[in-house]
Assembly symmetry: C2
Homo-oligomer: 196 residues x 2
């Protein structure tokens, strides 16, 4: 059956399988066999393409980040005013794809793993910085820089916090409620200001 050009397909299938396996288990200790099985291949093949398990996990995280980046870019393009930019960033973080319990479980698991893996830690910092700067791209049009910075920090923290609470399946059930909470904060924080 071996057809040439399988590599990219297999890599992608393995990454998808990794996401769903992690999402279902709620943690990173899924076996290579489990992942490979879901992707319809043997565990040996997973090792063949990714070397070690760490590499596969890292590649998976990169993939998730890349998708988020794409969504974010699209959302920001169709945002006009600074205020709209801020809301767009918030909305993307709570969009259907990002706010699913599975995806969130994966995020959480990666956060923990980042304590051990410096490569993963670096990746997550990239995400954190990007979220911050995306928020700033709107906020700096409304608040003076230092205040904008603090507002971005607070907003980011609130988003992360709502993610965690979602993972616990306690309180804050849906995306709409989550968005409302963040927007409420933004409204009272930015409401009075003119959009420069």
């Amino acid at each position: 059956m071996p057809k040439v050009g399988m590599e990219p397909l297999r890599r992608r299938a393995l990454i998808d399988a990794t996401i769903s396996a992690i999402g279902e288990r709620g943690s990173l200790d899924v076996t290579m066999s489990e992942i490979a099985g879901r992707a319809g291949v043997s565990s040996a093949l997973a090792h063949h393409y990714f070397g070690a398990k760490d590499e596969l996990l890292l590649a998976t995280m990169r993939h998730i980040l890349a998708e988020l980046t794409i969504d974010m870019r699209r959302a920001l393009q169709s945002a006009g005013s600074p205020r709209e930019r801020v809301s767009a960033v918030v909305a993307v973080n709570f969009s259907d794809i990002q706010f699913q319990p599975e995806t969130i479980a994966a995020w959480l698991a990666f956060y923990v793993e980042a304590q051990k893996s410096s490569a993963l830690r670096r990746l997550l910092r990239v995400y954190a910085r990007r979220l911050h700067s995306n928020l700033m791209s709107g906020l700096t049009g409304i608040l003076p820089r230092s205040e904008a910075d603090r507002a971005a920090e607070a907003t980011a923290a609130m988003i992360d916090g709502l993610y965690i609470r979602r993972a616990l399946k306690d309180g804050v059930p849906d995306a709409a409620t989550a968005i409302a909470l963040v927007e409420d904060y933004l409204e009272i924080k930015l409401g009075g200001r003119q959009t420069q």
Copy 2:
């Protein structure tokens, strides 16, 4: 060397060792031997007192929760007005003991593990509810109930979010900054209101 009455001492030592081991590693996969070693006993003894590893982890989480409860009670007792109560709750969550990277790493790890262990999940829900109701004990004196509820939700989320960011060692370096962010939110949210 065997002296009678060791059980409570050993249990406590093992729990302390568990916390520090988890804190250092940043995740729950520390071995029983590692924990037992830190406590100065053999792994067999850890099993003797706690049965399985799960039990030890659960007991450890219970211990952490219990300490937080004590701190919280003390802080709330010396708070007069509703507004002070809210600030007290915030302050406790960012107190030296609670806001150490080690403790936070442990929290995070337990959050992930909760996906697998229903007993742990139940415990964390208890914590979430308690935080919520502690916040409410102050907020209901300032805002109408439904608004207070939302404010408590937002505040709790922000606290959790700041915890995570601390674990990543990115942004929000110290407790003072974290408190300032939450207090800023509370101020603009509650500032205008009379304390009933």
